[in-house]
């Protein structure tokens, strides 16, 4: 399943935001949202990226896709260095992103058909006359009825909207899909459906995933490897098994304790010991 060729190489990436204060907005300080992050993602694998709110994981995802200006470091996609200042438009064909909030990330004035047709038109993925068929194909791919295309986002439930978000991301036939907490805004019963959809799409289309979540529970099910992020840095990265059974970093252990498992026999060693016992 996993080949040896890295699809995405992230090298020492930093994303800083200037804090503008004072008269005439003189730059005084920076928020170091992502502070020197390096990792690889291989073709066809799923990497889970976990960390608490505000640790920079979403910023990292948006930096990779070119939505945030990179402060320092390099990102290579398929062996080619990406220059995000110029490449945002062409890059969007290769790497796509599914956002957390499926409602606010859809334009309320566009029908679902418009939402899906726009990237096809901008990037000329299919000929103009084939766009309606392609839109229907995408809707079917994510398990929505084709009648959805003439309706507006507010007419759908959260799970359905997230399916639209996934279809929209897949419209450009990307190789890497960044999933920025795609299920955290959904009901638990819907979460499982969407996670299954992600798994199924990966098998059908051979996608590579960077799966961002704030808890380990959400990524355990889908990830081959997991990266744990804390305060803008990756503190630990390993296979899903390693992270759950042999965590090294204190923060990973804290996260594991926070992950509820109703079956006591399946709880990890960390969860069965008292806090502090292994540290």
């Amino acid at each position: 399943m996993t080949t040896k060729k890295p699809l995405l190489v992230v090298q020492n990436v930093k994303t800083y935001y200037p804090i503008k204060t004072g008269f005439m907005n003189l730059k005084t300080d920076y928020v170091k949202a992502v502070d020197g992050v390096s990792f690889d993602i291989f073709e066809g694998e799923t990497v889970g990226l976990v960390g608490e709110s505000g640790c920079g994981k979403s910023t990292l995802g948006r930096t990779i896709i070119g939505l945030e200006p990179i402060t320092d470091g390099h990102i290579y996609f398929d062996g080619q260095q990406m220059d995000y200042r110029t490449d945002r438009v062409s890059l969007s064909k290769q790497i796509q992103i599914v956002f957390q909030d499926p409602y606010s990330s859809l334009n309320p004035r566009q029908t679902i058909g418009d939402v899906l047709a726009e990237p096809l038109r901008v990037h000329r993925i299919v000929a103009a006359r084939d766009i309606p068929q392609e839109v229907e194909r995408l809707l079917q791919l994510v398990g929505l009825p084709t009648t959805a295309k003439s309706r507006y986002p507010h007419e759908f439930s959260g799970g359905q909207r997230q399916r639209v978000g996934i279809a929209r991301a897949l419209a450009l036939r990307p190789r890497l899909l960044i999933c920025d907490e795609p299920v955290s805004a959904l009901d638990v019963s819907i979460q499982a459906q969407i996670m299954n959809l992600f798994k199924q799409l990966q098998q059908e289309l051979g996608l590579t995933y960077l799966f961002i979540a704030h808890g380990l529970g959400a990524v355990k099910y889908i990830s081959d490897r997991i990266a744990v992020m804390y305060a803008g840095k990756i503190v630990e990265m390993g296979t899903t098994e390693d992270i759950f059974l042999r965590p090294q970093h204190a923060y990973t252990k804290t996260l594991l304790r926070a992950y509820p498992n109703p079956d006591p026999t399946k709880r990890s060693i960390i969860q069965r010991t008292q806090k502090g016992a292994l540290e």
């Binding site: 948006r62 939505l67 945002r88 859809l106 309320p108 004035r109 726009e118 007419e155 929209r168």
Partner: protein
């Protein structure tokens, strides 16, 4: 949708009725009457009485109102001016053209300035040009229109002698399009300054709110070029609240017309209103009030309908009868 419009029009009828009653009462409570304005004070009281009876002013107020209303409903007639004896309908109709022309052009020009400037200010927030535009819009809002009007007349008509200080055409000429435009420049500057000033701020703040929305990020992620992200995804959503503001702008312009038309002797509704007030011309004033109330109500209905057209979320709730 048609049912909705009909319902709104039916609600408008009692509102118009209420407006006329209140206006009628307020007008009669004000001191003076048309006869004082019309008849020389030297005439004997008997002559005054005769004039009162002729105009129907000797009847109790409620009878007078009833006569006015009956005339309006049964004959669709607003009566005759108590001063000039012209039909009120004709007077208002003749004055309507110049006012609609001036206000319409002012509204369109104002928005043509406000929308691009507001969008620029929002996308380049806190840039030098943004500060210039925001300060300019503050000036446009703050400066009283009569003061700006007098200032412009002083500079451009009296000192420089470039532009006429009032009127719609040269005296004695039949008036051409060029002279009309020349006469419109100064009143337009006054009206556009306030329309643009107000709306730059509305567009800017509405756009700022939209620029932070997640779906603009989605549009960028799709690879849509920045120009279209702002002007297609952003602006179309930002204009939804602006549509409401434009609807409110129409009554404001109608009110502002009274002052601006007076200063620039623009032969429109505003000038007629002021001269009718001065002359206590009750019947003309009632007609003008009715027209003004109608314009406000119509502007509101049009706004609500326009709202449905620009926002699909609202449109569905009209068409489908119920939401979702």
């Amino acid at each position: 949708m048609i049912g909705y419009i009909v319902r709104r029009l039916l609600i408008a009828v009692p509102v118009l009725f209420g407006v006329t009653v209140i206006n009628f009462l307020i007008m009669r409570m004000a001191p003076g009457n048309p006869v004082d304005m019309l008849v020389s004070p030297k005439l004997p009281d008997a002559a005054r009485e005769a004039k009162m009876i002729e105009l129907g002013l000797h009847e109790p107020i409620y009878i007078q109102y009833w006569n006015w209303l009956k005339n309006l409903v049964v004959h669709q007639d607003l009566g005759y001016s108590m001063i000039t004896y012209e039909p009120v309908t004709t007077m208002i109709w003749d004055r309507m053209g110049p006012t609609v022309l001036l206000m319409g052009v002012a509204l369109i020009l104002g928005l043509c300035i406000a929308i691009p400037v507001g969008i620029y200010s929002a996308t380049k927030q806190y840039s030098k040009l943004d500060y210039v535009f925001v300060t300019g819009s503050f000036l446009g809002i703050s400066i009283p229109n009569f003061f700006l009007a007098l200032l412009l007349v002083y500079v451009f008509s009296i000192q420089l002698n470039w532009l006429p200080s009032g009127g719609m055409k040269e005296l004695g000429s039949s008036g051409s399009v060029t002279t009309l435009i020349i006469h419109m420049i100064l009143p337009l500057i006054v009206l556009v300054a306030s329309v643009a000033g107000r709306n730059i701020r509305y567009v800017r703040s509405s756009m700022l709110e939209i620029l932070g929305q997640d779906y603009l990020r989605t549009a960028r992620a799709k690879g849509v070029k920045e120009f279209f992200v702002v002007n297609k995804h952003g602006m179309r959503n930002a204009l939804i609240p602006i549509v409401t503001i434009i609807g409110l702008e129409i009554p404001i312009l109608f009110g502002g017309a009274v002052v601006v038309e007076q200063i620039f002797s623009w032969p429109g509704i505003g000038q007629l209103t002021l001269s009718s007030i001065m002359n206590r011309d009750y019947s003309t004033l009632m007609g003008l009030n009715l027209v003004a109330a109608f314009v406000v109500i119509a502007a509101n209905i049009v706004t609500d309908i326009a709202y449905a057209f620009v926002d699909p979320r609202i449109r569905k709730s009209y068409v489908g009868g119920s939401k979702r």
